[in-house]
Symmetry: C2
Subunit: 147 residues, 2 copies
Amino acid sequence: MMREPVELSYAKCLELLSAGGLGRAAVSTPDGPHIVPVNYAVFDESVVFRTSPWSVLGSQPPGALMAFEIDVADHERQIGWSVVARGRAGVVDDPAELASIRAFWDPRPWAAGMRPVYVRLRWRELTGRRIGAGWNHDNELPVRRAL
Amino acid sequence: MMREPVELSYAKCLELLSAGGLGRAAVSTPDGPHIVPVNYAVFDESVVFRTSPWSVLGSQPPGALMAFEIDVADHERQIGWSVVARGRAGVVDDPAELASIRAFWDPRPWAAGMRPVYVRLRWRELTGRRIGAGWNHDNELPVRRAL
């Protein structure tokens, strides 16, 4: 059975995105687009994540355009949703802003290595789509997958 | 415990990517990068997926640079891996090539709507990273998540 994808409301996109966890950031470079998986949080209508200043995400110019995506898919039931945030991003260098973000979200990184830089993506566009039926509040969130 | 990320070999990246399923394609546009989740297959050292000719992925110029990402994460155990393919992509318009791809992979799309266009990304770069210990052949594949 084929179903029309449903556009999600801004409020629903924000709710789904706010769960945090693993997402993917994309940037355009002269060498083509890059996609990098990152752990993130939503802070004051923006996406924040940590990286190193030498990484492709950490070395973008201030105000670089960025896209950020999360999704959940159930292949057996052929249902899924995705949310994409797009806008300008940059390394947080204002001390007060940095302190606010750190007070809210100071994750232990999964991987070793210095990730002293916080990147903040202030979206100007937040959109999402859902495919398939049978969603409820228990199964829609990006719960932590058990391997 | 912090662990150094491990770079995956080309062979391992190819094995993980070849499982197919859901991935995310990124393109650069004048309006900034886009990320779009798509179902895909690996065909002859390339990533193929279907879309509509009017979509952001289907309307890229021939040979546009593209990135494609898959990942698996276990938040509780703080382990995960990701594979990224990068290279030039384009709509498949050669009839023989199209026939070969269709014979190999002709998915029923999850969503309604015409997706008559096959896009093929021939990677020139295939890289991957793994974080955390305890991987084995049973838990590393991007198995279909049960909601």
